[in-house]
């Protein structure tokens, strides 16, 4: 049991060296995360050479602290200039920017920092006490389960917006279409590349994310500047927590549910951390008393999705530690560092290096707790941005977008992708097509297609294998419920209205 080794683990963690490593990495993660366009993956990858000179626990703590901070910090540019740092934070960027537009940016970031810490701590506790057992469950996921899970995530993206279902579906199809550009993963056939070698690898995700969120905002700032209201400054950062206790108390169930969903989905390798916050957002909306406020600046929505975002990150470490299976690019880096340090991930590491593993788990916990004080500091510094009029800030934001899009692959094609998709997103938003499903379509497209094709080959033309296994059947049923409940609700509402009209006619 991990708990038996906590004493020795504390000795490894509570040292000046560890405090220095964690603090400097936290500040570095905050800086990279808060720069629009720079990602948590980039921050962690840059630290890898430094970890060669560190002991195992400080090395892992450097990566984990940087990742946790960078992922939280990416909510700051998401709220201030509408550039989300990850696919997961794209789920609630609409609510963050709407809260900022309403002059409640301080509250939005206060919720973000608190929920991120709570979600992260929740995920870390699950990791500490139930990692081996949960990892075994995740191993039961085959391509059939992944197919349904991806479909559930995509359905959530379509259902969670306030736009028409038809337009959301079309937006999702656009995203899936963008994802299918490039070399086909099963046969190697180039698709929709127009002969361009840079498109063979597909459409890079980070430039797409920057373009689809930041560029429409920039165009609106340049063209529709009379319609953009000035944003109220944050003021005293400590006042961000005023009334937050009440919000947390009223949404405690939402917080617990979102953290659980985030952790549970985050555990699934390959897909988890990206769709955790999207599914939790949809579930939270479904159970909310005010679902109509979602997407328009709902504090409840930000609270749940932020908690799910960070808990999914902790969840992704479960298969990484137990089986050495990376959940995402950051956990892949962690696995690499573990191997370099001789802590080969697998069930045996819990027996042979129990003290070190317990110390690593403690580091996960501490890194998430550090989000609160350091997050406050970052928000206080970033809040200065709001003092500058948005129109004067726009060219500089464009500069960040250019650098961010270029830096991911060190290729100018990233800048082209950013602008082309940005203009497309502007036109989509102007005409009531939500951008969020498109982003999720780009992220999940390959996963959906790969699993669909391999499942169709395995199933040999029949449908039964898709629902034969219990988890697959459960997920298929959930998908069916997600698709049919809104339609049934709409039909019932229509019937009720027709009945009321007939009754009113008969009375008159």
């Amino acid at each position: 049991m991990i708990i038996d080794h906590l004493g020795n683990a504390l000795e490894l963690v509570l040292t000046w060296k560890m405090a220095l490593v964690m603090l400097s990495c936290a500040l570095f993660g905050l800086f990279v995360g808060a720069v629009p366009g720079l990602s948590a993956t980039m921050a962690t990858a840059m630290l890898v050479p430094l970890t060669f000179f560190m002991d195992p626990v400080p090395a892992i703590s450097a990566i984990v602290t940087t990742a946790a901070m960078a992922i939280f910090a990416s909510d700051i540019p998401a709220a201030l200039v509408r550039i989300p740092g990850t696919a997961a934070s794209a789920a609630y960027v609409g609510d963050l920017t709407a809260l900022t537009a309403k002059g409640r940016v301080g509250r939005a970031l206060g919720i973000s920092v608190t929920a991120s810490a709570i979600g992260g701590v929740f995920g870390s506790l699950v990791l500490m006490f139930a990692a081996p057992q949960l990892a075994l469950v995740s191993l039961n996921f085959t391509s059939f389960e992944y197919f349904w899970l991806a479909l559930l995530g995509l359905s959530a993206a379509v259902m969670l917006g306030n736009a028409s279902v038809l337009k959301s579906l079309m937006a999702l199809a656009i995203g899936l279409m963008i994802a299918s550009v490039g070399m086909d993963t099963t046969s190697g056939t180039p698709r929709f590349t127009f002969g361009s070698a840079s498109l063979l690898d597909g459409v890079a995700f980070v430039p797409a994310l920057i373009g689809m969120f930041a560029v429409p905002e920039l165009i609106r700032t340049f063209v529709h500047r009379d319609e953009t209201p000035p944003v109220a400054p944050i003021g005293n950062p400590f006042r961000m927590f005023e009334g937050l206790g009440r919000v947390l108390m009223t949404s405690k169930l939402n917080l617990l549910r979102s953290s659980t969903i985030g952790t549970a989905i985050g555990i699934l390798p390959g897909a988890g951390s990206d769709i955790g916050s999207w599914i939790s957002y949809a579930v939270s909306k479904r159970f909310s008393r005010k679902p109509e406020t979602y997407g328009k600046g709902s504090e409840e929505a930000v609270l749940g999705a932020c908690a799910a975002n960070n808990s999914a990150l902790s969840g992704a470490y479960v298969p990484a530690m137990v089986f050495g299976i990376p959940g995402d690019s950051i956990t892949a880096i962690v696995i690499g560092v573990l191997y370099v340090k001789g802590l080969n991930p697998g069930p045996m590491v819990f027996l042979t290096n129990a003290d070190t593993v317990a110390a690593i788990f403690l580091v996960f916990l501490l890194a998430n707790l550090l989000i609160v004080p350091l997050g406050l500091l970052a928000i206080a510094l970033a809040s200065q941005v709001l003092r500058v009029p948005k129109i004067a800030l726009a060219p500089l934001i464009l500069g960040f977008c250019i650098v961010g899009s270029y830096s991911i692959d060190a290729a100018a094609s990233g800048i082209v992708i950013m602008i082309v998709l940005g203009v497309l997103a502007y036109l989509m938003e102007e005409n009531g097509f939500p951008v969020a499903p498109t982003i999720l379509g780009i992220v999940m497209g390959l996963l959906v297609e790969r699993n669909l094709v391999s499942n169709m080959i395995k199933a040999d033309g029949t449908f039964m294998p898709f629902v034969e296994r219990p988890i697959a059947a459960g997920l298929a049923l959930t998908c069916l419920v997600v698709w049919t409940v809104p339609a049934v609700g709409w039909l019932l509402q229509r019937r009720r209205r027709a009945a009321a009209r007939t009754a009113a006619k008969q009375e008159s």
């Binding site: 990279v32 720079l38 980039m42 840059m46 038809l166 337009k167 579906l169 079309m170 199809a173 899936l176 279409m177 299918s180 086909d184 099963t186 046969s187 056939t189 698709r191 929709f192 560029v215 920039l218 165009i219 340049f222 063209v223 529709h224 500047r225 009379d226 319609e227 129109i391 004067a392 726009a394 060219p395 500089l396 464009l398 500069g399 960040f400 250019i402 650098v403 270029y406 830096s407 060190a410 100018a412 094609s413 800048i415 082209v416 950013m418 602008i419 082309v420 940005g422 203009v423 036109l427 102007e430 005409n431 959906v448 297609e449 669909l452 094709v453 169709m456 080959i457 033309g461």
Partner: protein, 155 residues
């Protein structure tokens, strides 16, 4: 810029048709009835059906003008600024390796400030400081090889 749903629907139908046409041309995998064209074909059909639904929905709402421009687009400096932020960035991307980030970005950013009414040496100085600061940060600290163009030897 608001476009009538019927027109968007028609564009989606055309796009879906093109996707379907291209996707059906992809070779099947040996011994399989599916291949690289299967998934795009499904998407092509989705665009066709979705486009048709949008045409019907748009027509049922009546035919207004096919496109409505926001008043901001009719003001030359704003139109120029938006054009510069999109087409200008595309040009910058195409000449990125030869002209380099410092020169092209400084010109682009100052032109945008100029069009927004922020004119004068202090704004030019801000652009230079921002662009060269970013270049230093990315190349020296974050190890991203941002091209410097003709300033390569100087920087």
């Amino acid at each position: 810029m608001r476009i009538h749903d019927s027109l968007i629907g028609a564009l989606l139908v055309l796009f879906g048709g093109w996707v379907l046409f291209v996707a059906l041309g992809f070779p099947d995998m040996p011994g399989q009835s599916i291949g690289p064209g299967t998934f795009p074909s499904v998407l092509g059909v989705a665009f066709l059906l979705g486009g048709l639904c949008l045409i019907v929905a748009g027509r049922s709402r009546g035919t207004r003008r096919l496109a409505d421009l926001n008043p901001g687009w009719r003001r030359a400096p704003r139109l120029l600024a938006a054009g510069l932020a999109t087409i200008g960035v595309l040009v910058l991307a195409l000449s990125f390796e030869t002209v380099g980030f410092p020169l092209s970005a400084t010109v682009l950013l100052y032109a945008l400030f100029f069009l927004e009414g922020y004119r004068g040496p202090q704004w030019l100085a801000l652009c230079i400081a921002f662009v060269f600061g970013m270049h230093l940060l990315m190349t020296r600290f974050l190890l991203v090889p941002l091209p410097a163009g003709p300033l390569e030897s100087f920087l």
